[in-house]
């Protein structure tokens, strides 16, 4: 349930970059979440709707891109994907001598914004 703090961070980062870019409105926010980072999209969305009201990000749509957890087996060099977040032995050789290749990502990738275009010639 630490998603409230996490959502506040997402809002702060999005607003900071939107202001820097001179945006009048943020329409979409793209977030990358690794399978192992224990963040629940639905909870983030729930808090988002509450805390983004009255900001540049009001009504912005959140897009979550889930990165699967990839494991590498040191014993047999097999690389495999964890279907759930739960740790399992290597499906090839049953070894637990594993290394995490990916799945721990958690970052704000990009935002889509609208802005007034005073410079544009007709």
């Amino acid at each position: 349930m630490h998603e409230l703090s996490v959502t506040e961070n997402i809002l702060a980062i999005a607003e900071k970059h939107a202001r820097k870019a001179g945006a009048t409105r943020v329409t979409d926010i793209h977030i990358v979440i690794g399978q192992l980072s224990s963040i629940v999209d639905d909870s983030v969305q729930f808090y988002w709707d509450m805390i983004s009201e009255g900001t540049l990000c009001t009504g912005a749509k959140l897009h979550f891109s889930r990165k699967p957890a990839q494991m590498h087996c040191r014993a047999c060099q097999h690389t495999f994907t964890l279907i759930r977040g739960e740790l399992i032995p290597c499906p090839e050789c049953s070894s637990m001598d594993l290394r995490i290749v990916s799945g721990e990502e958690f970052f704000l990738d990009s935002i889509e914004i609208e802005r007034d275009q005073p410079d544009q010639e007709p």
């Binding site: 349930m1 630490h2 409230l4 703090s5 996490v6 961070n9 997402i10 702060a12 980062i13 999005a14 970059h17 939107a18 870019a21 945006a23 329409t27 979409d28 977030i31 192992l36 980072s37 224990s38 977040g85 739960e86 740790l87 399992i88 637990m96 001598d97 594993l98 995490i100 958690f106 970052f107 704000l108 990738d109 990009s110 935002i111 889509e112 914004i113 609208e114 802005r115 007034d116 275009q117």
Partner: protein
């Protein structure tokens, strides 16, 4: 007016990480070694802290930061009764301590005249793992009654550890707990992690933990 894409690629926990780095620098300047003690509720965090304080009190000056979800000072009172400065942080229902709460807790401790600060995080195996505090070591207490499958179910918390305490080992005869299976999971998540089996109330295994902790404090003093 067509929407425009702005690339950001910024870690969502970045703000907390920055505050944690400031906390770390403050500890370093004061020559204090700081431990973030995490565990599920009832694993024996407070007992371990009290037993640790009791053993180190003749040699080290210590302070404790107690994180609780409600304004209950039971844990802080016990530490104060043991003669050590304790700060109570009420997280206001939050499931974890974060860098900012930690910083406020540090404000209330006489850091310059301490050697060791122990932070008792909120009892939880998920949320505390996501928030750096700026401490030098993350230590988890896994108690025998919780079961041997916890590394497999809560991999995140095991990955960021510098030490693991396996507590309540005196209950092993009464509980199905496969130590090999447990330690295999730990090894996969955190290769080479140092672990200390203890029964804190009986004193079993406490010496090894105390030695490790004292060595960390001494290394910090020299640095």
């Amino acid at each position: 007016m067509s929407p425009e894409r702005v690339t950001i690629v910024e870690k969502i926990m970045d703000a907390n990480d920055q505050i944690a780095a400031l906390n770390r620098a403050r500890f370093d300047r004061a020559g204090v070694f700081a431990v973030n003690l995490m565990a599920s509720p009832g694993a024996g965090k407070t007992t371990l802290i009290l037993e640790t304080i009791h053993r180190l009190a003749p040699r080290l000056r210590m302070g404790v930061i107690e994180g609780d979800t409600a304004p209950v000072t039971i844990d802080a009172d016990k530490v104060t009764a043991a003669g050590m400065p304790a700060v109570q942080i009420n997280t206001g229902g939050d499931c974890h301590l974060d860098g900012m709460m930690m910083s406020r807790g540090m404000d209330q401790l006489p850091l310059e005249s301490l050697d060791l600060v122990i932070v008792e995080n909120v009892g939880n195996l998920i949320c505390p793992a996501a928030f750096n505090l700026g401490t030098h070591a993350n230590v988890l207490i896994a108690s025998i009654p919780e079961g041997d499958d916890k590394p497999y179910k809560y991999p995140n918390i095991y990955r960021g550890l510098q030490a693991l305490i396996v507590s309540k080992t005196d209950l092993l005869p009464y509980i199905q707990f496969n130590m090999d299976y447990f330690l295999k999971g730990v090894e996969a998540l955190n290769p080479g992690l140092v672990h200390f089996p203890v029964a804190a109330l009986r004193g079993d295994g406490m010496d090894a933990w105390i030695q490790w902790l004292e060595a960390q404090v001494a290394a910090k003093k020299k640095a």
